[in-house]
Structures are given as C-alpha cells and as structure tokens.
C-alpha cells in the first residue's frame, strides 16, 4: 500500500513536469525564450517541495532548514527572471534577500539552541 502511494505520487509529479513543459499556459508564452519559462517552472516545483516540508516537518529544525532553502531558491528566481527581462535590478533583490535570509536563519538557529541573543 505504501509503495502504491509512492508510485501514484511519482506519476503525478512526472505528469505535472511534462504538462508544464509541453503544454504551457498561454499567458506565459509572451516571454522571450520558451526555455527560460521552463526554468521558472522547475524552480516553482522546487519551492512546492520546500512548502511541503514546511507544512509537514515533524520538528522545528526541519521547518528552519526548509525556510533557509526557500530563501536560497528566491535568489535563483531573481537570477532567472533577470535574464529574459533584461532589467539589472532583479539581482539587487536577490542580494538583499540572501542577506536577510542569512540573518533570519542565524536568529532562528540561536532560538533553537534555547539561549538568549545576548551571548
């Protein structure tokens, strides 16, 4: 039964990827390059995995790991968005987000240790 559920989940993920690659929504077809749009879909699939781990993490440490990786993925989003649009300020958002994500992760890890911030 457990293997059956795994097979069904894998089939759904593969169908999602193939559907997004070969039959993209019409509103996104106005982008310059069709391959960059596929990159965008793959990154959104990764962030869906991270959201699953945030929702169902058994311990707080799992959720903190997933939040860290989600912040890194947003930097990747900004880099991928900066290529077809040609605007240089997207990568500025990426740098600021990476800095803020690092500080937030350090603060959450100190909270996880159970000590105060003044140490």
């Amino acid at each position: 039964m457990r293997r059956f559920r795994w097979v069904i989940g894998l089939l759904m993920i593969v169908a999602l990827i193939l559907g997004l690659i070969f039959y993209p929504p019409a509103s996104l077809l106005e982008w310059q390059s069709i391959s960059l749009m596929r990159f965008f879909f793959i990154l959104s699939l990764c962030s869906i995995f991270c959201l699953y781990r945030i929702l169902r993490g058994p311990t707080p440490a799992d959720r903190i790991v997933a939040i860290d990786i989600l912040g890194i993925l947003v930097v990747g989003f900004c880099a991928v968005l900066g290529i077809p649009t040609g605007r240089p300020w997207y990568i500025d958002i990426g740098i600021a987000w990476a800095l803020q994500s690092f500080i937030g992760t350090i603060a959450l890890a100190k909270y996880l240790e159970g000590k105060g911030f003044e140490e």
């Binding site: 990764c46 991270c50 790991v65 990786i69 350090i106 959450l108 996880l112």
Partner: protein, 111 residues
C-alpha cells in the same frame, strides 16, 4: 557560443536545485535533509548566478551576480552549521540506522 555555455550552467544549477529539494522531501532525518539541501546553495543557485554572469558579461547585473556568488559561498555553510548545532543541542534524535554521532561523544567526554 557564450550563450550556450551559460544555458548549460543554468540547467546544471536547476538540476541540483531540483535534486536538493527532492532530498528535502525524501530523506528521513534533519541532518540528512540538511546535507542534501545544502547542495542547493553552492552548486545550484551559484551555478545559476554564474550562468547569468556569463550571459551578461561585465555589465551591472553581471558584476552584481558575482558579488552575490561570493556572499552566498561565504554565508551558506555558516547558516547550515548553525542549524545543525542548534538541532543537536535542542535534542533532535538521529535516524535509527545512523552509524556514529561524534558530537554526542565530544559532549560526554567534556562533561
């Protein structure tokens, strides 16, 4: 030619991102998940940013991408190490089939 090389870098980075997040879902333990998902940072997103740098060259966005690579490589191992230390101190159990736990041995030897 440069565009093709930059596309190859971006595809490799996206594959590492995808496999890291798959490991974040699949693996059984906090430490295993941390070990899989830290590959997202240095090999995934830094490779995407390096592809952006190759695409743009030495313009404003390209140099900002290089700065972002340096910052990510400096900070990501620090945050991963802090998370692992905090999880171990707060008492998260290892997986059942884990082989050794050196940090616990060190703490017992100190006390």
């Amino acid at each position: 030619m440069v565009e093709i090389i930059s596309y190859i870098f971006i595809v490799v980075g996206l594959l590492f991102d995808l496999f890291g997040c798959l490991g974040l879902v699949r693996l059984p333990d906090v430490y295993n998940r941390l070990q899989a998902s830290t590959k997202c940072v240095t090999l995934g997103t830094c490779s995407i940013l390096f592809g952006l740098f190759l695409f743009r060259g030495f313009t404003a966005s390209g140099i900002k991408a290089l700065l972002c690579i340096v910052f990510l490589i400096l900070t990501a191992p620090v945050s991963a190490h802090a998370i692992a230390r905090g999880a171990h101190i707060s008492g998260v159990k290892l997986w059942d089939k884990s082989v050794c736990d050196r940090y616990e041995e060190d703490k017992e030897a100190k006390s």
